[in-house]
Point group: C2
Chain length 206, copies 2
């Protein structure tokens, strides 16, 4: 399978969103120029990124449905992967209720916490188990994706448990950098990094 | 005020987290080598980044409390900025309950939605108003930061309203790229971009 550059991968969801809105508006065909305008990205980039789909335009016009399907396949969003989430606080709970994931190939099938008040309950329809059950359940269900939404000081411990449970990819929502074997995929959603840039740039302006 | 590179700004919260944990463990002093190990970042980077604080080490050892304070000042996290959030769905609600922001200079003082069932209620103690009240309230309270957690197709409209309401910095949690005048600061927390990379890298491995 071809390795697609990270920068391209990060832009593909933007195109998907543009295509979705165009389809909703009743359009069936689109040019890269139009995608470029609506995604606020340079045409050269858009052309290069769309090129990875191998979809052939008809007189420079792409069929919107075909392009959506091809991008979703590139992202493996056409298949649904089961995942486990650890840490059912505010953020974890929100992710459990975030329906947008299911359209993007991700299904959170179980959540874990160490709070006895949460264990045995359901949050947005997802059952919450004791963190002690993580390894046995993950191995049994051959779960490949683990989501970390615990406090940062617990992130490394949870990552270790995940690696030990044969998790292949970790989605870390804490600012804590985690150390894992090189074969494990780690992606961060670091809100505080983004907030840091926002706060400083605002202060620099004053 | 000195312009700090974005890459440095994004790493500063990582150091803050490392320092916080060290302080909690009872330490009072730290070397850049130790910060480098615990943040999983190269020492050269750590030294360069810490250099922006102008804190002088004593025999290569930094006072942890002084370093924390200096980083927080660089990020303008020592002051608290009031902000408004628009879109009280799962993600918006979660952010309203996310206490971690208050330690990072951000206070969400009001939320806005167009759902009559939400307007007039409080979510995690934050009052929810009609989106129609945004401009008048933002101007009156001189709000500088707007947070967007609406569905992506509404993001541009909300951004336009924010700009019109004299908001100076927009924190956009949707995958929708927004067009604003160049003087407006825009930061994205794009979960789907991160999920795209995670999903593809996992698929490439199989």
């Amino acid at each position: 399978m071809e390795t697609i550059p990270t920068s391209t991968l990060k832009r593909l969801p933007v195109y998907l969103e543009v295509l979705r809105q165009m389809k909703q508006a009743g359009l069936t065909e689109v040019t890269t120029t139009k995608i470029s305008v609506f995604s606020n990205l340079h045409q050269t980039l858009v052309r290069k990124d769309i090129g990875f789909t191998k979809v052939i335009p008809d007189k420079a016009k792409f069929n919107i449905a075909a392009l959506q399907k091809a991008i979703e396949e590139l992202l493996n969003w056409s298949d649904t992967s089961a995942s486990f989430l650890v840490g059912v606080g505010h953020l974890g709970s929100a992710l459990l209720g975030y329906q947008e994931f299911s359209q993007r190939g991700l299904s959170i099938v179980a959540a874990f916490d160490n709070d006895p008040k949460l264990i045995g309950t359901e949050v947005h329809g997802v059952p919450v188990y004791s963190a002690l059950d993580f390894t046995a359940m993950a191995k049994k269900q051959k779960i490949q994706i683990g989501i970390i939404t615990v406090p940062p000081e617990a992130a490394q411990l949870i990552a270790d448990i995940m690696v030990h449970s044969d998790i292949k990819a970790i989605w870390n929502f804490t600012p804590q950098k985690i150390l894992v074997p090189p074969s494990i995929i780690v992606e961060y959603v670091d809100m505080f990094a983004s907030l840091a840039v926002l706060s400083r740039r605002l202060a620099e302006k004053q």
